[in-house]
């Protein structure tokens, strides 16, 4: 049984979230000079901004901008500015914990290893090797992602390992693999500044990738045009030249009609297609019936706007596309991305400065975390786990027989389904908070309760970890050394600022020690993460994500190296396809046809509105870290529901009123913000919170059949006005640690 051992109130008192507002030692200490500045990168989001952490008395106590780092030149968002407040936090776990009848109790590291090894082995002996699943994450250094994948395949021998990037950009990754043969952003970010047209689809860029803003504003200062496709006006829309308010779940129709116009009006670059691609004839035939009128009816976007967007992209050889979760989080997320890519291939917009189409990867190591073997279908270097040559190569690097490597396993959401069905009995998880981040949270909670053994590695006790039998006390971002890969494809160095406190250990060390307890220590004898990286370089050699020529020293000297980088002397590859060659064996891009289909949770008379979910600038993912940082919580203490005044008026709802959102799965109550910046048939709620305010109570478990991404961005719902919750203050405090007016900031002004 894996229900929480105590009520949420007791767990919250012991493990937070408590809100940290001041650096270690308080502001009184702040004037004392730092002992050192450590050049590293922010722990939040795929921008991976350069930052210097200020260390005093072996604690991270502040930051200093790192203006020399070429991506962000010292720029940071509020998450980056306040990230240091997670260090020396009162909620930081200092020992490993074991569940008892009275709650969690400290347990020694060796006893924890013994317990985990014994229980994992018992489950596998009773139910088979695949009855243990492993969850990883994309906010940790690549060395950990690599060693976790090896741990699952070699130490546990389970096929069931997957990671939370499955909830992030896998639709884009799948589409890029299908079309280009490589899964990476095609251009470095400065290319955005020199494009003539940038199409942003399904990306709240200003809040989720804030540093990208400056590149986009530079583009507009040069006279470039910005097209934004989104059911909401997000902050980046304030300077859009063309805004297309697409109905949730209909991006595909918009892209197909744009290509229809490009074909109809002779804007196709046939020479480029003939020389560098295959498959366009079928794609052209598939858009013949996607007239502007048809698309306007489905998308709710006027035909003239769709036509203008197509003309702008077809009228230049410097057009770029940016997309993110808004088009990827769909049961046709892969199709959405394929259709968007096709716009840029058909117009010859690849392989040059200012021409390309790219995803904005969301998680801190969203790119690197998906390259080296914690995906259920992949081995290091973006190798395929089903390809006999790939299996043989990796087995050789690892020193194990190829036939000992498991085959492809279940994806992240499918693992939770298999736990719910009783097929997977034990779970080992790190860097993942599925109770907040997976769809249909009540289903996730039921599944977690069925586990016979559940162990996590955590540094704060996440809501998911409340269900654990055993919590290893792991390492934070600033306590490890290794690499990440940014949204640009730039491999960067994370430097260790401080040691893990108390009885906390490096996550990688915990994994290796556990492998040793499972009798596989000889495959995990790494003195440090450096030796893991050196093995990773070899494991990636010859693969798609080839890191062989990248060393920690090169990264530091060159301020990052773009993969692929197959040899030590290789300069790296900031821009893909410059010679017209794509990554498929024939060197061509393979255009794919996208068939239209409805979303998996369609509206009807009982659920007539569209619910879409997303993020706010001051919170990161499931909030495990950022919901503990006071100034970030003050900025967005709770989820607010955005709705249009025409919808609000029907229900007599004003800003600040309480609304119940009901979907086919659950209901959530939150306060309204009535704004004209969202479609009247759509409501929006951000997803960073747990418990009763979890947006993912509402979302559904329909997956894209190829990428296995859940359809977070469109659910059918209804709304009604309700009185404020009777126990409001209590549940605010329990679930968010926040009390209105409690911040240490008293002032009066104009």
């Amino acid at each position: 049984m894996a229900n929480p051992p105590q009520g949420i109130d007791a767990l919250a008192r012991a493990y937070g979230p408590h809100l940290n507002y001041e650096p270690s030692g308080g502001w009184a200490q702040a004037a004392r000079p730092a002992d050192r500045l450590v050049k590293t990168h922010c722990s939040f989001c795929g921008m991976q901004c350069g930052i210097q952490l200020k260390v005093r008395d072996e604690k991270v106590v502040g930051f200093e901008p790192w203006e020399e780092f070429p991506f962000n030149h010292g720029m940071l968002c509020p998450k980056g500015v306040k990230r240091y407040l997670q260090g020396d936090h009162p909620d930081r776990l200092l020992t490993s914990l074991v569940r008892t009848d009275q709650g969690f109790a400290p347990i020694g590291y060796n006893a924890a290893l013994d317990l985990a090894a014994r229980r994992l082995r018992e489950v596998q002996e009773k139910y088979g090797p695949d009855a243990v699943a492993v969850y990883g994450g994309a906010s940790m250094i690549t060395e950990k992602a690599y060693v976790l994948g090896k741990f699952a395949r070699v130490a546990l021998g389970t096929k069931n390992i997957d990671y939370n990037g499955r909830l992030c950009m896998v639709s884009a990754g799948t589409a890029y693999r299908l079309t280009f043969g490589i899964d990476r952003a095609t251009n470095p970010w400065p290319d955005l500044a020199v494009a003539d047209v940038v199409l942003i689809a399904g990306s709240n860029t200003a809040e989720c990738a804030p540093i990208t803003t400056q590149y986009l504003w530079q583009c507009r200062e040069r006279g470039g045009k910005l097209i934004v496709v989104d059911p909401r006006m997000t902050p980046i829309t304030r300077n859009a030249d063309l805004y297309l308010p697409v109905r949730p779940g209909t991006d595909l129709a918009l892209f197909l009609a744009m290509l229809h116009v490009i074909v109809r009006d002779g804007l196709v670059k046939q020479e480029y297609l003939d020389a560098h691609t295959i498959g366009f004839d079928a794609v052209r035939a598939s858009v013949a019936e996607w007239t502007l009128d048809r698309a306007a009816k489905i998308t709710g976007v006027p035909a003239a706007g769709i036509e203008k967007a197509a003309h702008w992209i077809g009228g230049t050889d410097r057009a770029m596309g940016l997309h993110a979760r808004g088009i990827e989080h769909h049961s046709k997320g892969v199709e959405n991305c394929l259709a968007m890519i096709n716009l840029f291939l058909a117009t010859g917009n690849f392989g040059r400065e200012g021409a390309g189409c790219m995803m904005i990867t969301g998680q801190g190591n969203g790119q690197g975390g998906r390259e080296h073997g914690q995906k259920c279908d992949q081995l290091p270097g973006m190798r395929s786990i089903t390809d006999p040559e790939h299996r043989e190569y990796i087995a050789g690097v690892w020193g194990v027989p190829p036939e000992s490597l498991p085959g492809p396993g279940l994806s992240a959401a499918e693992i939770m389904e298999a736990i719910h069905r009783g097929e997977i009995k034990a779970l080992f998880s790190m860097c993942f908070n599925p109770l907040v981040s997976l769809p249909d949270a009540n289903f996730t909670r039921e599944a977690l309760a069925k586990l016979e053994f559940f162990a996590v590695i955590d540094f704060f006790l996440s809501e998911t970890a409340h269900h654990a039998d055993l919590v290893f006390c792991g390492s934070m971002h600033e306590e490890d050394e290794g690499v990440v890969c940014s949204a640009e494809g730039r491999v960067q160095k994370i430097n260790k600022a401080v040691n893990p406190p108390g009885d906390a250990r490096s996550d990688a060390l915990i994994i290796c020690d556990l492998a040793n307890r499972l009798g596989k220590g000889q495959y995990f004898a790494y003195p440090s993460t450096r030796e893991i990286f050196d093995e990773l370089r070899v494991a990636s050699k010859g693969g798609i994500a080839d890191y062989y020529g990248i060393t920690w020293e090169r990264i530091e000297d060159e301020l990052g190296v773009f993969w692929p980088c197959p040899e030590i002397g290789h300069p790296g590859t900031p821009r893909l396809f410059e010679n017209g060659r794509f990554w498929h064996a024939d060197g061509k891009a393979h255009l794919q046809v996208s068939e239209w289909r409805e979303s998996g949770d369609p509206p009807d008379a009982s659920f007539p509105l569209f619910l879409t979910t997303g993020r706010v600038v001051s919170q990161y993912l499931s909030g495990t870290q950022t919901r503990r940082i006071g100034p970030l919580v003050e900025q967005h203490p709770e989820p607010r529901i955005e709705l249009h005044p025409r919808l609000a008026d029907r229900h007599q709802i004003a800003t600040g009123d309480w609304i119940r959102i009901t979907t086919r799965r659950a209901a959530v109550v939150a306060q309204a913000t009535v704004v004209r910046t969202i479609r009247p048939d759509t409501i929006f709620i951000p997803y960073h919170w747990p418990g009763r305010r979890s947006a993912n109570l509402l979302t559904h478990r329909t997956l894209d059949p190829r990428s296995k991404i859940p359809e977070y961005k469109v659910s059918a719902c209804r709304i009604e006005k309700v009185p404020p919750p009777a126990d409001l203050d209590a549940w605010r405090l329990e679930e968010t640690g926040w009390q209105p007016g409690a911040a240490p900031d008293g002032r009066r002004g104009a």
């Binding site: 909401r232 980046i236 805004y243 509206p603 008379a605 569209f610 025409r646 002004g749």
Partner: protein, 206 residues
Amino acid sequence: MNDGYEFFVDPSRCIGCRACVAACAECDTHRGVSMIHVDYIDRPNSIATSPTVCMHCVEPACALVCPADAIKQGEDGIVRSALKPRCIACSNCVLACPFGVPTVHIGPELMMKCDMCYDRTSAGLRPMCATVCPSQALTFGPAAVVARQRQAVPTRDFRFGAQHVKTKVFMMTAASAPVLAADVEDYMQKGPDGHEDWIIDEASLG
């Protein structure tokens, strides 16, 4: 170093992220408290936000109305926070400032405002807010570079009715740009009756 650098505010670039607010509060002289305001202009109708920083007036109204002579202007033109021994927290400056910048802090009973990160600028660094600002709505750099890279036009002359205020800080003003309508409905497909095209008419629920 930063000789010849000037401070520019371009509200049209602001994305409301409040990185400036967060960064300002890190300053050693006013720990945990920000001297910058970021406001929605009109949230019900628009996503537009705007940062407000001290404009460092050439003839600062805050200093002119201070009965305790607590607000000083340096030779560099920077108007400093109130001197702690002199400030009587009367709020005259709060009321007088045409830009709404100073705030009086209840705890220390002290008016505090931006001094353009004197600790940083005097050491050749840029002010913290303009360093971190992801949209560069707040920028600190050479005027010639800003003129080359931006379409908006800098100004430091302001008229508030009869009052003419000159400032050290520049405000970027739109050269000429069409105004984007603010209501999503204005961009949506209209049905045959001119009504916006909802997929299902919620009113039919009764």
